[in-house]
Symmetry: C2
Subunit: 309 residues, 2 copies
């Protein structure tokens, strides 16, 4: 198997954490129901491939995301006290109740930096979403559960266009101040470019939020995901969301390719000499297997290159 030559850049972080979102963000928009056993095997294979944290599912109401209606069943089959955390998304207090009943140790909330997406995705407003999430975060923290906050539409919004950096910083700080241990900044529609990433990170730094509390979540809609991850890595970010095989896509842009593919990120990190702990061949095999389950090839360049031709 080909591997990149290692040229270690001493100015980059020595190690990063890859936060694997394939089982949740990757599968949530699949229209054909994926069997519970397949999801379980997917999560377990991702764990075995060395992903240090694997978001497993969402306790969203089944009416909204039928694909994840089996969230409680899936979580009941996972080893919630092992070395690998399995966060679950919780949209509201009812979702948190279900997650706590299931015994999870990590949850995530999903907020919007824009008014329009708050309305469309959360049936809320920009302002009222904070009131909605505040008791979720507080109760989770009180229960000893770690809370991650996603902030979506941090670079652009399909209805509002560019999203102002100061708005993104203000919204993100509010989520951290509620008690989230980490804030994942999402380029939900993939429009951002490298210096926009730097400008946003610099604005957070100026507002007192360092890269130790930030993760970056890129989508590859316009092919920018890996270049943007590289820019963020150069600014000191050490947590990156990625999806095995590049699974997933934005429901508001059908043609869009999905999340940054974990394999493509791993290839870059390997070349840069940045440690991550992931077994690339095992991961790529997992993505090929999952692509077979879904009936279409993986969009990840690395997966294609390593497993065909």
């Amino acid at each position: 198997m080909s591997l990149p030559a290692v040229h270690r850049d001493p100015t980059l972080p020595e190690r990063v954490t890859i936060y694997e979102v394939g089982a949740r963000d990757g599968l949530q928009n699949e229209s054909a129901l994926v069997p519970l056993e397949t999801k379980l095997e997917f999560v377990q294979r991702l764990t075995a491939a060395g992903l240090p944290i694997v978001e497993a599912t969402s306790f969203v109401h089944p009416k909204w995301v039928p694909q994840l209606a089996d969230a409680a069943d899936l979580v009941s089959r996972l080893d919630l006290r092992g070395a690998t955390p399995y966060p679950v998304l919780v949209p509201n207090e009812r979702g948190l109740d279900r997650a706590l009943e299931a015994g999870v140790t990590h949850v995530a909330v999903f907020a919007s930096a824009t008014e329009t997406f708050a309305a469309k995705n959360l049936n809320s407003t920009y302002e009222t979403q904070f009131a909605m999430f505040e008791p979720v975060v507080r109760r989770a923290v009180d229960a000893g559960v770690q809370v991650r906050a996603y902030l979506s539409m941090c670079f652009g919004d399909p209805w509002e266009g560019e999203v102002a950096v100061d708005r993104v910083v203000t919204a993100g700080k509010r989520l951290l101040e509620m008690g989230a241990y980490e804030l994942s900044l999402g380029d939900t529609i993939g429009v951002g470019t490298a210096h926009h990433v730097e400008v946003l990170l610099d604005a957070y730094a100026e507002a007192g939020v360092g890269t130790d509390r930030l993760a970056m979540h890129f989508h590859d809609t316009y092919g920018q995901a890996l270049a943007n991850a590289y820019a963020a890595l150069r600014r000191g970010v050490t947590t990156f969301d990625a999806s095995a095989g590049g699974l997933g896509g934005c429901p508001y842009a059908k043609s869009a390719t999905g999340n940054l593919a974990t394999e493509d990120l791993v290839w870059m990190l390997d070349g840069l000499g940045v440690a991550h702990g992931v077994d690339l061949p095992a991961l790529a095999e997992t993505s090929v297997w999952m692509a077979q389950q879904l009936g279409r090839p993986s969009p990840s360049a690395v997966v294609r290159a390593l497993t065909t031709g």
Copy 2:
């Protein structure tokens, strides 16, 4: 149409030249013959979209690349004295003779940084290729024709693995010293990563070859092309090879995706506030049209995102 928000990075070059290779590098591996009229329309639409230099074809022997057997006919239909140069590849003196007869103003030679690829692609050795190209470059320059030199396998080679940076610098300098005005450094199999790019550019700088004489030619086989282009841009490179719609692929890795897609590069440059002169919608329309001629969708993320869903 969506466009990226502009965040100008003042440390980057203000303007770059995109050297469009779709009509040559993109088409040369197509097995089904593309009609001459289609190639002509492709080149003319690329020109109309603002690409400042459009490599048109190769005067390789038709036995080796039947797809480009119509090189002389194609060139005879182009405006060779207009504002847009139409370079052609010339593999040897016989190819140069044909190109000069056709009245071209720009030619390109294609050398290898490795022994094995010199044998397989050029039926030569690493050393004898220079003797082969020397009269080609000299005679072209004497005829008032500009010569570009490609150097392939600058990052890795499928048979030899990593390629040493000093070997790449030595080979490239020899090509420039022959009289080439520009050296295009190719990651032919797409294995390179961002700091490897920086290390190579730094080695050239140390050897007295600045970015004013260098171009970068990336393939997206492992998803690294745009991140690598960004790293090169940060080091001051101002000429980038790219292929409309991401056309093309390496014949030695069938599954590989092709060249860096011009549209994905343009999207990044637009976001970074780096001028390039290309009309993105016109270019994306051209790539969609060309994809229809070839009977399969464009691999470019930007083309897909702008033209569907």
